[in-house]
């Protein structure tokens, strides 16, 4: 009995310790975000005069309204919209293309099937940054600078997603395709009626990952958008920093930073259930 008592006591202490550790970790990570939030609710002078305030001020509505409608170079509203278009375009485009290419690779026997798979797979080793100069050249010649297609298309071809869907399709029993064939489904019908619904959770998980990937793109939009009205929000924050002796409008910049963080958080929370299911199990 004494032993069990000790165990319970021990476990109590352990639980406290682990929770303490977790709370310290959270506080550590959360503190900069808190600071940003505080900075976005006070006046410019309060930030630049040390010590920096740690409690929110009364300028919340003012600062955020100013950021959304005016911003520094372009209204944040506009930049959020651009980011949304880009992130959604990349996410949907990638999912559509990789679903179709995985479908082709897994379900059709065509000459060069393995070659194509390996070519796709090889591009995994070439992140945007490595191929950025030639890609820029191509996009520029197509006249797609400062345009949504220019922002989206070069980032759409995706080896990762193709690979993921390929692996998932390989786990789908062959009999399912055969049963559909006997039932009279042509390949695309099988794809739409059977494979797509079965990949639902995988698609959701991938959507979350790709949306955040697209949203957080920095270098590419920085290169190809020169017109402030085409800026995305993540790079737009950087553009807000003053050059030379101008004073930075920190409250607005901080408000923008927080606004830029919101959509990914909303997406993750909204799709959390599907996301986790997609990563953990494949419903068969």
């Amino acid at each position: 009995m004494a032993d069990t008592g000790g165990m319970v006591e021990n476990r109590g202490i352990q639980r406290w310790l682990t929770h303490m550790g977790l709370m310290i970790g959270v506080a550590f990570i959360f503190f900069p975000i808190w600071l940003a939030f505080v900075a976005s609710t006070v006046e410019q002078q309060e930030i630049v005069r040390p010590p920096m305030p740690l409690l929110p001020g009364d300028q919340f509505v003012d600062n955020y309204a100013r950021a959304l409608t005016a911003g520094v170079n372009a209204p944040v509203m506009r930049m959020l919209f651009n980011s949304a278009i880009m992130a959604l375009g990349i996410a949907f485009g990638k999912i559509a293309i990789s679903l179709l290419s995985a479908f082709a690779i897994v379900y059709f026997r065509f000459p060069g099937r393995h070659l194509f798979f390996w070519l796709i797979f090889l591009t995994l080793m070439l992140p945007v940054e490595v191929r950025i100069v030639p890609t820029y050249e191509v996009v520029a010649r197509f006249g797609m600078l400062n345009s949504y297609p220019g922002l989206i298309l070069p980032l759409v071809a995706s080896a990762t997603a193709t690979f993921l869907f390929r692996q998932f399709f390989l786990t789908v029993p062959d009999e399912l395709a055969e049963a559909a064939r006997v039932d009279g489904a042509r390949p695309m019908r099988f794809f739409i009626d059977i494979l797509l619904p079965m990949s639902r959770t995988n698609i959701a998980a991938l959507f979350v990952i790709l949306f955040i990937y697209g949203w957080n793109q920095y270098l590419w939009p920085l290169l190809i958008t020169t017109d402030p009205s085409m800026n995305t929000v993540v790079m737009g924050i950087k553009q807000m920093f003053p050059s030379g002796d101008d004073t930075a409008d920190w409250p607005v910049i901080m408000a923008t930073a927080l606004l830029a963080m919101l959509p990914p958080v909303v997406i993750v929370i909204a799709m959390q259930r599907l996301f986790i299911r997609g990563l953990v199990d494949s419903e068969k």
């Binding site: 049963a179 009279g184 059977i194």
Partner: protein, 349 residues
């Protein structure tokens, strides 16, 4: 409803030929069971009829139409798969209706047909469920439903019962048989289970390594197997094969003697055709299996009525059988019929 005619059907995967020319005439409404050990090509044969495998040479005809190059959906067949292949995200209703939806039947007719199929298969209460919410037997029924709702000319079954437990298997076997009888649809049924083959088939096809060993009515095949393989495969426990005749009679050169376990009787050692010691006995209730070691070292299994005395281990017993029950197989496995004179002339013990 249709006939199915396979003519010297061959199938190769790359350079390996797995089906070496199979010819079968299936009559309209006949229930044909293709039975054989795993890897004998029986599933490949069925899949060629279904159109899921291409035909290397020979022809498949359903009705009067050669369908070698016809897509499965246009062959007027339906198939039940071993793992049922139900669409996991669709309800039972949608699973059964899928083929009809593709065929663009009017909604009312689809509902009507699915309802009928569900009634026949007692699936009524489950139409809204997903396959994962069903038991194995119910999933099996859904697969059947998907098959019958299309009113095909030929049913194809690829080991449909092998994922079920023993009791359910017997029950579903009866249901499949009565269903096929009621609908009068030609059926091809692949199994490795000889009991299924014996009970379901109008005629059965015993296959071994890509060739048909024997085609015939189950009881005929059982009673007069044409090859040693068939004699050994059909029947449980299998036919005993004796390399040398324990009765000291001379067998034709390198021939084997086959005798079914149930044809052997236990007698007093003095009266037996031969004697052996009991290795062990397996009383199964209705019957008892006795495993013997003969004096010359060969093993022999016999089956006797469960009411008879169970011989103890190491007991010396005599066994006897009627000469007419003996089967002689030549070295290549073919049945060699001993001539009548020879039979009479040999010394009887």
């Amino acid at each position: 409803m249709a006939t199915v005619v396979l003519e010297s059907l061959r199938k190769s995967f790359g350079k390996t030929e797995v089906i070496h020319g199979v010819s079968i005439d299936v009559e309209d409404g006949e229930f044909i069971v293709i039975v054989g050990p795993s890897g004998c090509g029986k599933s490949t044969l069925l899949r060629m009829v279904a159109g899921l495998e291409t035909v290397t040479s020979g022809s498949v005809a359903i009705g009067d139409r050669v369908v070698n190059d016809v897509e499965p959906m246009d062959r007027d067949i339906s198939m039940v798969f071993q793992n049922y292949a139900l669409y996991p995200h669709m309800s039972v209703f949608d699973n059964i209706a899928y083929g009809l939806k593709i065929a663009k039947l009017p909604r009312a007719e689809i509902a009507e047909r699915v309802k009928n199929a569900a009634e026949i298969l007692q699936l009524g209460p489950y139409l809204d469920r997903k396959p994962r919410e069903l038991s194995g037997g119910q999933r099996q029924r859904v697969a059947m439903g998907r098959s019958i709702v299309r009113k095909p000319a030929v049913f194809l079954f690829d080991e449909p019962l092998s994922n079920l437990d023993a009791k359910l298997r017997v029950q579903m076997r009866l249901e499949i048989k009565s269903l096929q009888r009621r609908l009068g649809v030609t059926a091809l049924y692949v199994t490795h289970d000889q009991v299924e083959a014996m009970t379901l088939a109008d005629r059965m096809i015993v296959m071994n390594s890509g060739v048909t060993e024997q085609i015939g009515k189950p009881l005929d095949v059982y009673a007069s197997p044409k090859t040693a393989f068939v004699a050994g495969f059909i029947g449980s426990p299998p036919t005993n094969f004796l390399e040398s005749d324990p009765t000291q009679r001379v067998l034709p050169a390198s021939c084997r003697l086959g005798i079914r376990p149930e044809h052997i009787r236990v007698v007093d050692p003095e009266q037996g055709v031969c004697v052996g010691t009991v290795v062990f006995s397996e009383p199964l209730g209705a019957e008892t299996l006795v495993h013997l070691r003969l004096l010359d070292g060969q093993s022999l299994t016999l089956r006797q009525d469960g009411l008879l005395r169970v011989p103890g281990e190491n007991e010396l017993i005599g066994v006897a059988w009627n000469r007419s029950d003996e089967m002689i197989f030549s070295a290549d496995g073919k049945r060699a019929f001993r001539e009548e004179e020879d039979n009479k002339g040999s010394p009887d013990t």
